[in-house]
Every structure is written in structure tokens, then in C-alpha cells.
């Protein structure tokens, strides 16, 4: 009897001229749970996608039960009794669990939903799932939806199950339940591949661990013979020198103080849990974490796009002892603040405008004789993006989906450049002259490759799209600059261009927040790095003294019960 259920031999896959997988060989035994561990972009998902029939390998062979297998579609995969549970569920919302499970199966005999219900119930009973076959998907929790996906695969008779980060969306209790079920399936003789980032899950669940790095299979080890440290080292690999220029931070000021912010998603699960940190003007603050750990939500909550449950986002203008000007404050605001006793004269005596003429007051302010008593502090929580801007807070944001939020694909560079500024002025007409000048300036300064400034940005290459976006945000002279994966999809030169831009911002005293995925880059570019895992901050490290292993360990740390570590 062959004990090998699935074998990959020298599998390679290229996207464009980049290897997603290179020469991967891997075996999966009958009745075992194999965990696949690796960083973002290490080729885990593309590898299992080839087994599941989503992609077809460029080179190499796949064997199922010792026989060569040709898997060109998910249907073929089912033919070999291979089923995959994707991270994004493919379910029809208005259908019941059973209806979704039976979708697309060609069975002989009459179709009767009650029969399907019965068979679904049999499967759920056998492995201990909690699932009502008649419940509609839209009434289900995420965990129930995942159950439907797993049962769907079992219903088709799969013996090899592949789960792509199944725990990312679950609560600790649900994870425990899922693991019990997976163990029961293993004991029943099924072979299971599970992709995960969380070290403790790997150690508690799997029989063997396969570690992937940069598209290659590093090693497969018996779980009982390894430990967290060894796995992390294999996963992270050697430090790569990138030689990104980094200046020493100067004149640091606390710019953005985030305190205990919490947010829940539509399912009621926490996506941000008691997150606190301070972003300082004059430094680059990196944010590291497994994809989907709350980075997006964090930036969006600062940008005013995500409502918070609790906590505060304080924007700080260090004004104590500095002269008042009409640049940030209107005349009436100055009067109101004076009323509240917020100003003093150079000699320290409190300011009172009682009985003064307006002209007199203006003169005093313009001459810089009136000084602030304290820092100017604004809480940005629950403010809309427009309100934030009207408060005079200049936030720049380079979001993850460049064309879905940052830019409008069908508009030209000029029109995209003025998204932020088009309201300026009282006229009902747009002023395109300044945006046009800016667009031309950006094209020249950042070497944006485009036929002309009137080309829709959709038609530009990824790197050039990013340059338009970053360039526009920098042109707004921000005091906080947030960028989510700004170099994703960019070639080396373009990436270094972006790093330089961020560095320049830092040198000008901007508080830069950089969400990245490549740890080498984070370590060389940033001054401090905040590590986030499952919506919680697991550590804040000094980028100059940290190691990839340290960050890696923090990234794969499991959700803390009650979040007590921060106290």
C-alpha cells in the first residue's frame, strides 16, 4: 500500500517573468495534517492553487496516490478527490447550505433537496460540525460559512482537503472547534493541508510542517521534532542587504497619538483591539504584520473612513509658546480662544482682548505678539475625511487599492491630481490650471511614463499609477503620510524611488506611517516598527536593532485572550 496521498515533483510556476514557485517538491501522506508555513508572497497559495486546479504548473508533475494527475480545473481536482477551501468563500447568499453544497454536481437520479439535507446531516454528524442544512448563507456567521465550504468539499467525496488560512476569520473558540474537526477527519484517513501563519496553531495541530520562502520549499519537518525558533528562522531566512538610505531622525514631535482604539467588522468580530501607538513627525513608523491583521482598518480609521467602538486618535500641533497666526485660525476662532484664556503675551501675562478694536487685535496677531498657552490638540475620531481636512489636518493616504479608492481609473492624471483640491475657491468651475501644472511637475519630477497628462491613469503601468498617487499626496504638504503597501507590484527602481520620497518626507518633519510586507525593507527603511497580529499590537521594536526573527515571532503570535499583555 502506498502511504503517499499526494506528491508534487519539481513544480514551477511563473507569473510574467517572476517565479511564484520554483522547483517545489512536496509529499502528503494519508491520514496526516501538513501545515504550510511561510511569509506573504512565499508562494504557499499559488502552490496549493495548482493542486486545486486554479493554476496549471509550467513545469513538474503532480501524483495522486502514486499516479500522475492532470489537474486543469477545480472539477479535475474533484475527480482526484482533492477539494480546496479558499479564503474568500464562494457561496450564493440567498441559498441554503444544502443548495450551495450541491451546486454544480452532476449526479444521476432525481434531484431532491431533502435527500441532500439528509446526506449533509450525515457528514456533519460524522465529523461533529454544527450546521443546519436549511439555513440561508446570509443568515450565517463566518464560521458557519466556512463549515459550508468544508462540507461542500466532503460532499464531493474529497480525501485530500486544502484549507487556505482558515483561522484568519475565526474566534479562538471557533478555531479550537475547527481543529477538533480536522483531527477527527485525519483520524478518518483524510489528508489535510493547512496554510497558516500562526505558529502556535502549526505546533498544536499539524503532524508535519513544510516551510516555504520566496517561492521555494525550504524543508519539511516533523512537528514534534521542531520548535518555534527553528521554524521562524527557516521561514525568514537570511537578512538581505538592500542598502536603503536612512537618515537619523531629527526634531521628533509626537504628531499622532493613537490610544486604545477598537473596531469590529460586520460580523461583530474585533478587527482592531486596543491599538495604541504614537507616530512622530520626523520618523518613519513601519507597520508589520501578516496580511489582513488589521493594517487596512488601522489606516482607514485614522483617515476617517472607519467608525470606532472606542479609543481616540489625537492629532497634535505643538503650539505651546508659538505665536498665533491667521493661517490656521480664523479671526472669530482667535477671539473665542482668547476668551477661553488660551493665549499669553511674550512676557507671560494672559491675553484679554476686552475693549480692543479688531484692527488692533489683527495687528497684535500679525506681529506675532500673541502666543499659545498650550498645544493645539484635535481628536480625529468619528470625523469624516472632509471634516478632518476642514480642521486643517493634512493627512496623506496611499491606500492599498489604488484604483478603487485613491485614484479614479478612467480619469486622466490632471483630474486625479485634483481629487483632493478641486473644491478650492468659490467659483462653480474647476480650476484645472494649478492641477495641470502639478501634473506636469509630477510627470517630470517622478519620471512618470505616460503619453501625456490627459491619459486615463488606468492605462498606466502599476509603478506609474503609484507615482501619480504618491506624488499627489506629497504635493498636499502633509503632516502625516500613511502608505499601505506602496511598493506592491513595483519593480526595484520604482520601489527605491518611493523609498526616497518617503525619506524626504521624513526629513521634512512629516510623520510617515509605512505598512509593508517585506521585512527586509521595513527593517532598513523605518525607524521604529509596530507589529500587529490579529488586530492587536504585539510589539513595537527599534528597526535599527531588531531582527527578522524577532518581528517574525511577533507577527505569528496568537491572539491574546483578553489582551492582557499590554498592561
Amino acid at each position: 500500500m502506498n502511504t503517499v496521498a499526494l506528491e508534487l515533483k519539481n513544480i514551477s510556476k511563473k507569473f510574467g517573468d517572476k517565479y511564484a514557485n520554483k522547483n517545489v517538491s512536496l509529499t502528503l501522506h494519508h491520514g496526516e495534517i501538513l501545515a504550510i508555513l511561510g511569509e506573504n508572497g512565499s508562494g504557499k497559495t499559488s502552490m496549493v492553487n495548482m493542486v486545486a486546479g486554479i493554476y496549471y504548473p509550467d513545469e513538474g508533475e503532480i501524483f495522486v496516490d502514486g499516479n500522475p494527475a492532470v489537474i486543469t480545473s477545480p472539477k479535475d481536482a474533484f475527480g482526484y478527490k482533492i477539494g480546496m477551501i479558499h479564503q474568500h468563500f464562494k457561496l450564493v447568499d440567498v441559498f441554503s447550505a444544502s443548495e450551495n453544497i450541491v451546486l454544480g454536481i452532476k449526479e444521476p437520479g432525481k434531484f431532491k433537496l431533502s435527500e441532500v439535507d439528509k446526506r449533509v446531516a450525515e457528514i456533519t454528524q460524522k465529523y461533529g460540525f454544527q450546521l443546519n442544512p436549511q439555513k440561508k448563507i446570509h443568515e450565517m456567521s463566518v464560521s458557519e460559512k466556512q463549515t459550508v465550504e468544508i462540507v461542500k468539499v466532503l460532499y464531493r467525496g474529497a480525501d485530500i482537503l486544502i484549507l487556505d488560512e482558515p483561522t484568519a476569520v475565526l474566534t479562538p473558540q471557533e478555531i479550537e472547534k475547527l481543529f477538533e474537526i480536522l483531527r477527527r477527519m485525519r483520524d478518518d484517513g483524510k489528508s489535510i493541508i493547512i496554510i497558516t501563519h500562526k505558529m502556535n496553531e502549526v505546533l498544536s495541530l499539524s503532524d508535519r510542517v513544510a516551510v516555504m520562502r520566496k517561492g521555494e520549499h525550504i524543508a519539511t519537518v516533523e512537528t514534534k521534532n521542531t520548535n518555534e525558533k527553528e521554524l521562524t528562522e527557516m521561514m525568514m531566512g537570511e537578512k538581505v542587504e538592500l542598502n536603503i538610505e536612512r537618515s537619523e531622525p531629527k526634531n521628533l514631535v509626537d504628531r499622532l497619538v493613537i490610544e486604545n482604539i477598537c473596531s469590529k467588522n460586520e460580523e461583530g468580530l474585533p478587527v482592531l483591539n486596543n491599538v495604541s501607538f504614537t507616530a512622530r513627525g520626523g520618523e518613519i513608523l513601519g507597520i508589520a504584520g501578516i496580511a489582513g491583521s488589521g493594517q487596512r482598518e488601522l489606516l482607514e480609521s485614522i483617515a476617517g473612513l472607519l467608525p470606532l467602538e472606542s479609543g481616540s486618535i489625537i492629532f497634535n500641533r505643538p503650539k505651546k509658546g508659538l505665536p498665533v497666526s491667521f493661517y490656521h485660525k480664523s479671526f472669530t476662532e482667535v477671539l473665542a480662544l482668547a476668551e477661553q484664556g488660551k493665549f499669553h503675551y511674550e512676557d507671560g501675562t494672559p491675553v484679554s482682548f476686552d475693549g480692543m478694536h479688531h484692527a488692533q487685535i489683527r495687528e497684535l496677531v500679525n506681529e506675532g505678539k500673541i502666543l499659545f498657552n498650550e498645544d493645539d490638540v484635535t481628536n480625529l475620531r468619528d470625523k469624516t475625511p472632509l471634516e478632518i481636512r476642514e480642521l486643517g489636518v493634512r493627512l496623506a493616504f496611499v491606500p492599498e487599492d489604488r484604483l478603487g479608492m485613491g485614484l479614479v481609473g478612467n480619469m486622466d492624471i490632471v483630474d486625479n491630481v485634483m481629487l483632493r483640491s478641486y473644491r478650492r475657491g468659490k467659483s462653480v468651475f474647476l480650476d484645472r490650471d494649478n492641477p495641470h501644472d502639478l501634473a506636469m511637475h509630477l510627470i517630470k519630477e517622478l519620471n512618470i511614463v505616460t503619453p501625456d497628462e490627459h491619459t486615463p491613469v488606468r492605462k498606466l503601468s502599476g509603478g506609474n499609477i503609484q507615482k501619480v498617487l504618491v506624488g499627489r499626496e506629497i504635493a498636499a504638504a502633509p503632516s502625516v503620510f500613511m502608505a499601505a503597501y506602496p511598493v506592491r507590484g513595483l519593480d526595484i527602481n520604482a520601489s527605491y524611488g518611493i523609498y526616497n520620497m518617503l525619506n524626504k518626507q521624513k526629513e521634512q518633519g512629516v510623520a510617515v506611517i509605512f505598512v509593508g510586507e517585506d521585512l527586509d525593507v521595513l527593517i532598513e527603511l523605518c525607524d521604529r516598527i509596530v507589529v500587529i497580529a490579529s488586530g492587536e499590537i504585539t510589539g513595537i521594536v527599534d528597526a535599527r536593532s531588531t531582527t527578522k526573527e524577532e518581528i517574525g515571532l511577533l507577527m505569528t503570535k496568537n491572539r491574546l485572550e483578553g489582551g492582557s499583555e499590554n498592561e
Binding site: Y56, E61, P68, A69, V70, T72, A303, L305, T384, P385, L386, R389, P399, G404, M405, G406, L407, V408, G409, N410, M411, D415, M418, L419, R420, Y422, R423, S427, V428, F429, L430, R432, R458, K459
Partner: protein, 365 residues
């Protein structure tokens, strides 16, 4: 051995279709021209089979019908203007990806209000005041007709295509009601020509053309150069982006539909006060729907729309004339227009997508 077999078994489909990212404007125009030409050829063939006339004669007679006399030419351009006007009214909504299929109804209520004003208060008001008041009311009610679906779309995301369609029929029933109440025995309202806007040159045509050209220019400027027009484009492209940049999406939807409906109402007013001086259920004559096609085919660009509107009206008038001469049914015009439109709609595929044939030489190794 098995590997060889397995690799061969896996074949890509013979044809695969990808989205085009870039097409030269010249090529796009060429594709459209071919589409229009092929539909012309097919229709000429069909007409030839029905009439046994030389196709060239048929086409000449189409031009005769469109431009044959100076009156025909005036009517041609005036009809083009009206159709263009409705299309212009609908365009801001479409740019916002709001499918306003209610142009027909919005025009009709504008006409109804105009006719009612003439009927009820025409005699008791001085003429200039009457016209001014009628103009205002027609536009206002048109705007109202447009804003009702917009409100429910903005607030509860009610499907605007179906909603605006239903509003058309409510408008029709209002008109019928009015006609049954105050019309003559045949259910028609006698034209109240005494309240017509005075003729310039030889009829109502010049004013229509002039006014709509002005509206066309204004609309072009509004969409291209105003802040509101810019907001419309952003909302239409991505609501998420719009929200992030602080645009109040609901407000933009409602504001735009007020404009759209009001302009339709204005056209309705023109059709009465500068036209029939009466109202019927067919006063819009399906132009509320044809205008959707005009606007869409014109890429929502007011300048291109002049061309598409002209094409449609030219076909309409030319084919009807030819049909009459050769004793074909008047429906020939509808068939012709429908066919041409479908060809143009279909040819967009070849502009937006590229068809790739799989190269077979790979398997030689």
C-alpha cells in the same frame, strides 16, 4: 510517457478574449463605421428585396426625405435638436451610473403642465408672464418627476431603472386623465395656437435648434468644467473614492436627477409651447428611450451626441420617406433604426475587447 500525454491533454481554449487597454481613436471610429455600413448594406438589401428598386435609388430617396426641401431640412434639424435635448438631459444621470429610463415620463409631465397652464390660465395672464410661468412650472415638475426615484435610490438603493420606467406610465395616465376630462370627443385637446411662442423664420424650428445648441454647450461645460460635473464623474466611477474625498453621494444623486428631470421638463415645455400647443400621450414619442441610446452611443459626450442624435433622426425621416414612396410600411423606420443601433452596440465589443487566437505552433517541441 504519461507526462507527455498529460501535457498535451491540457489545451487552452482556441479563442480567448481579453480586455483591450489601448485602442487608437482612429481604429475605434473605423470599427464603428464598419458597423454602421454593414447595417446599411443589410437594410438596403432588405429594402431591395421588398421593393425591387435599385439600392442607390433607395438611398437617394432617403436623402431626399431628409433634405429634399428646405422645410424637410428644418424639420430634420429641429427633430434632431429635440432628441438631442432629451439625451442631454439624461446624460448627467448616466455619467453618474444612474439609469434614468424615465426621460419619456419627465418630458411628458413637462408637456402636461404646459398644456394645463395654457388651458386653465392662458386667457387670464399676459402672454410673456404666461410663457415664463409655464416654463418655470414645466421644469419644476419635470425635476420633481426625476427626483422621486433619485430620493429612493439615494436613501434605500431602490432600483432606478425599474422605478423610472414605472414613472413613465404614471405620467402617461395623468395625461390621459387630463385629456379625458378636458379634451374633445376623440380624447384630443384642440391646439391652443394663440399661446404659441411667436415664430422665428418659418416656424418653431429655429428656436428649438438655437435653444438646444445653447443647452448642449452649457451641458458640455457643466460636465467638463464645473465642480458639480466633476463630482458626478467621481460618483459614477467609484462611490468609495467619492466618499473618501468627502463627496456627499446622496446629495449628488439627488441634485443630478433634479437637473436631469428639469431639463426633460423643459423639452416637454418646448414641445407644447413651441410646437403642438396641445398634449398627447405620444408627445414624447418614444424619444425618452431613443435618447438613452443617443447618449450612450455618444459616449455621454454632448458634442458626439449631436452626431448620434442626427444619425437617428436622419434614419427616421429618411426611411419613413422612402417607405412612403415605395409603399412600405412606416414601421420600416423603426426596423432600420433598431438594426443600426444594435450593430453599433454590438461593435463596441470589438473596441473594448481583443480576440486572441491561440497559436498552434507551441506543440511542435
Amino acid at each position: 510517457m504519461s507526462k507527455q500525454a498529460s501535457v498535451k491533454k491540457h489545451t487552452e481554449p482556441l479563442i480567448h478574449i481579453t480586455k483591450r487597454t489601448n485602442i487608437s481613436p482612429l481604429r475605434a471610429i473605423l470599427i464603428r463605421a464598419i458597423a454602421v455600413l454593414s447595417s446599411f448594406i443589410i437594410m438596403a438589401l432588405l429594402m431591395f428585396l421588398l421593393t425591387k428598386e435599385n439600392p442607390i435609388t433607395l438611398i437617394t430617396s432617403m436623402f431626399q426625405g431628409a433634405f429634399g426641401t428646405s422645410l424637410r431640412t428644418w424639420v430634420l434639424f429641429s427633430d434632431t435638436a429635440i432628441l438631442l435635448g432629451i439625451a442631454l438631459a439624461l446624460t448627467p444621470a448616466f455619467k453618474m451610473k444612474f439609469w434614468n429610463c424615465g426621460g419619456e415620463g419627465q418630458v411628458m409631465v413637462g408637456s402636461l403642465v404646459a398644456a394645463m397652464m395654457m388651458f386653465f390660465v392662458g386667457d387670464s395672464l399676459p402672454f410673456p408672464l404666461l410663457i415664463l410661468l409655464t416654463l418655470l412650472l414645466s421644469t419644476a415638475v419635470g425635476g420633481l418627476w426625476g427626483v422621486i426615484p433619485a430620493f429612493f435610490k439615494a436613501k434605500w438603493n431602490a432600483n432606478e431603472t425599474l422605478f423610472t420606467l414605472m414613472m413613465n406610465y404614471i405620467a402617461i395616465q395623468f395625461v390621459t386623465y387630463f385629456l379625458k376630462l378636458f379634451g374633445n370627443a376623440q380624447g384630443n385637446l384642440d391646439p391652443m395656437l394663440q399661446f404659441a411662442i411667436p415664430k422665428i423664420f418659418n416656424g418653431p424650428y429655429f428656436l428649438n435648434i438655437l435653444l438646444i445648441l445653447v443647452i448642449c454647450a452649457i451641458m458640455y461645460v457643466y460636465l467638463r468644467f464645473s465642480k458639480q460635473g466633476y463630482e458626478i464623474s467621481v460618483v459614477g466611477e467609484s462611490e468609495r473614492t467619492a466618499k473618501y474625498f468627502g463627496i456627499n453621494v446622496s446629495r449628488v444623486i439627488i441634485r443630478t436627477m433634479v437637473i436631469s428631470g428639469a431639463l426633460c421638463g423643459l423639452i416637454g415645455f418646448l414641445l407644447v409651447a413651441n410646437g403642438s400647443c396641445s398634449v398627447t400621450t405620444t408627445i414624447a414619442g418614444g424619444r425618452g428611450f431613443t435618447a438613452i441610446l443617443v447618449s450612450w452611443l455618444g459616449k455621454f459626450n454632448p458634442i458626439y451626441m449631436i452626431l448620434t442624435a442626427f444619425l437617428v433622426v436622419f434614419l427616421q425621416r429618411g426611411t419613413s420617406f422612402t417607405g412612403e414612396i415605395y409603399r412600405l410600411d412606416t414601421s420600416m423606420a423603426d426596423i432600420f433604426i433598431g438594426a443600426v443601433l444594435l450593430f453599433i452596440i454590438g461593435c463596441e465589443f470589438f473596441i473594448n475587447y481583443k480576440i486572441n487566437f491561440r497559436k498552434r505552433d507551441k506543440e511542435g517541441k
